[in-house]
């Protein structure tokens, strides 16, 4: 028997598994649906949503003159909600984050100036269109007032003088970025696709490879167990990264998804996705280990994924929840992955800027893999 005795390479074996596994994934409808189709459906649905009735939330500067005619006219405008009795700092941060559409400051009358009163509107790029809307409402009110005042002057009528004469309109736009629906929805969908692929994909694949003795047949070859796992993880990682690239590109070119630093931002998002996937795969290993049969995998996996789907800022910001619910949200790893993805994409953060959420995700990773080592079964 002539046998070539050469060094056996675990890496060659691992790559063979990765290649086979990748082919298998691309031919499995559920993997393609979870990774690419589902997120895209949600992105398209939300990408096309335009808030039907415009509701304006305008913060009122605490120093504003609420006795003025301008104020009285403004509060009568339909669909305007005036946020009063808040400190200036809070109002400004609200404006910055896009919670407020504009900040209104009706200065008290000042008789030393030509224009007796100044009305200031500060808007943000975070909600540029709504800010414009607030401006046009105000200029409308002010123009009418000014016109009336001028008419009164011409006709020597005195009754408008207590309003302080002409009103000057000032507008400022602060440097917030334009925050679109897609900027919120895409990172959430990306995060969720990573979660479900990591948990469901891993749980099903390892369960069925174990049940159908595929793993046992692998054990009869010289490949080490750790390299089987590495090979499987690598193929899922590659598949998921390709899925993420497709989602990001469609988001960018079809819906104007904001990528502050272009390619660098995409790379940062992909790195975050990869880290997230590795952590979430740990959940999948645990599920595949504790599931006694195939039909209990979906319920168990859903226990992991569904709360995060709803509470981790996938569809709505975590801030809208009551405090007690927020504290649950703030314990879930997907919340941090979504946060980190949004910061990287929209605010142009680097990986070192999202160290806190990253450490939190890695902390979950340590816990989950400790459990996976405890529960994972090969046979």
């Amino acid at each position: 028997m002539n046998r070539e005795e050469k060094q056996y390479s675990q890496w060659t074996a691992m790559l063979a598994i990765s290649r086979a596994s990748f082919r298998s994934i691309t031919r499995s409808p559920s993997a393609v649906i979870f990774t690419i189709a589902f997120p895209l459906v949600f992105i398209i649905a939300f990408g096309f949503i335009n808030p039907g009735r415009i509701k304006l939330e305008v913060g009122l500067h605490p120093g504003s003159d609420t006795s003025s005619a301008i104020y009285r006219s403004f509060i009568l405008t339909p669909n305007v909600k005036l946020v009063k009795d808040q400190g200036l700092g809070l109002l400004e941060s609200g404006l910055n984050k896009g919670r407020l559409d504009a900040l209104l400051f009706i200065h008290p009358p000042d008789s030393t100036r030509v224009a007796g009163r100044v009305v200031e509107v500060i808007t943000s790029k975070s909600s540029r269109e709504k800010g414009r809307f607030v401006e046009s409402i105000l200029t409308n009110i002010i123009d009418k007032g000014n016109l009336a005042f001028l008419k009164a002057r011409i006709h020597s009528e005195k009754y408008l003088e207590h309003e302080g004469g002409l009103t000057e309109f000032r507008e400022t736009e602060i440097a917030g970025r334009e925050y679109k629906m897609i900027d919120f929805i895409l990172p959430g969908q990306l995060g969720f696709s990573i979660l479900s692929a990591g948990v469901f994909g891993t749980a099903f694949v390892f369960f069925s490879l174990r049940q159908t003795l595929v793993l046992k047949r692998f054990f009869a070859t010289p490949v080490k167990r750790s390299f089987i796992i590495l090979g499987e993880a690598l193929s899922r990682l590659v598949f998921q990264v390709i899925g993420a690239i497709i989602i990001i590109l469609i988001g960018k070119f079809a819906f104007g998804f904001t990528l502050i630093h272009g390619v660098v931002t995409v790379l940062n998002m992909l790195i975050l996705s990869a880290i997230g996937l590795i952590v979430f795969m740990g959940f999948g290993f645990v599920v595949s280990g504790i599931a006694k049969n195939e039909s209990v995998i979906p319920p168990i996996a859903n226990i992991v994924t569904l709360p995060q789907f709803l509470l981790s800022g996938t569809f709505f910001p975590v801030d809208v929840f009551p405090d007690w619910l927020q504290s649950i949200s703030r314990a879930l790893p997907l919340t941090y992955l979504n946060d980190a993805l949004r910061q990287v994409a929209f605010e142009g953060a680097g990986l070192t800027d999202v160290l806190t959420p990253l450490l939190f995700i890695l902390g979950w990773g340590v816990v989950v893999y400790a459990l996976a080592v405890r529960f994972f079964r090969w046979e």
Binding site: M1, R3, A20, T212, L213, K216, R217, F218
Partner: protein, 255 residues
């Protein structure tokens, strides 16, 4: 006929599962180039014994040498030199036979001629079929095909013909004999005695974790006859299986 060089040596092998004694002090040797059969009813400990030799399972005690290497510390060396066909093994889902052979070539770090491999088991037409689309006999032939990739010194076949129709069974026998002819040692488990008689040079009969008889099939029959055994029924020159095969033909028909 063969050189009497032992290629597998098993001495005093035991395996306990909790309280159950699955293998209880088994000793035997397999010689290079022979077909060795482990016979016995279900649950006798055949598969457990086989899996310990294949290094898939840890033994409780005893000594097992495969190609002179101990299963205790040379399992990865042994795996490179043997081919294993598992009872009812599955293969990676969604892949064609062609791709599965590529996978196994990688797992064994071997460059293989996949056409030649498929031809050797009569599946060259099925290169682009998926494993689950194959018939029972084709599945077993493919399983055997994957054991040949690393050009092994020994292949292990665990109940390869269970559940097959008579034609498929005979086809598999021919395949097994052809592999032996190329110089490969074969260890096979079965609970069909006609199969053991047809294929095996020597057999060991396993019952409740122990070997209760060990010799060539002819010698075992001879021993029984000498002890005064006679069959109740008169032996006819043909049996129903012969009738079935002469009526339906012997050709490979599991398309």
């Amino acid at each position: 006929m063969e050189s009497r060089e032992p290629i597998i040596q098993v001495e005093g092998l035991t395996k306990h599962y909790d309280q159950v004694m699955a293998v209880n002090g088994i000793s035997f040797s397999v010689y290079r180039g022979e077909i060795f059969g482990l016979l016995g009813p279900n649950g006798a400990g055949k598969t457990t014994t086989l899996e310990i030799i294949e290094t898939l399972r840890k033994k409780t005690s005893g000594k097992v040498l495969v190609t002179g290497l101990s299963v205790d510390n040379k399992s990865s060396e042994i795996k490179k030199r043997i081919g294993v066909q598992l009872q009812s093994a599955g293969y990676y889902p969604n892949l064609t036979l062609w791709e599965l052979l590529k996978l196994f070539s990688g797992l064994y770090n071997r460059k293989t001629d996949r056409n030649e491999l498929l031809k050797s088991v009569g599946l060259e037409e099925k290169a682009y079929a998926h494993f689950k689309q194959l018939s029972g006999g084709q599945k077993q032939r493919f399983s055997i095909c994957t054991t040949l990739i690393n050009n092994p010194e020994i292949i292990f076949l665990d109940e390869p013909t269970t559940g097959l129709d008579p034609q498929a069974r005979r086809n598999l026998w021919e395949l097994i004999l052809a592999i032996r002819k190329s110089g490969t040692t074969i260890v096979i488990t079965t609970h069909y005695m006609d199969e053991a008689e047809e294929l095996c040079d020597r057999v060991a009969v396993v019952e409740k974790g122990k070997i209760i008889a060990q010799d060539s099939p002819a010698q075992l029959i001879e021993n029984l006859v000498r002890s005064g055994f006679t069959r109740k029924k008169e032996v006819r020159n043909a049996n129903l299986e012969d009738v079935f095969l002469s009526l339906t033909g012997k050709e490979w028909r599991d398309e």
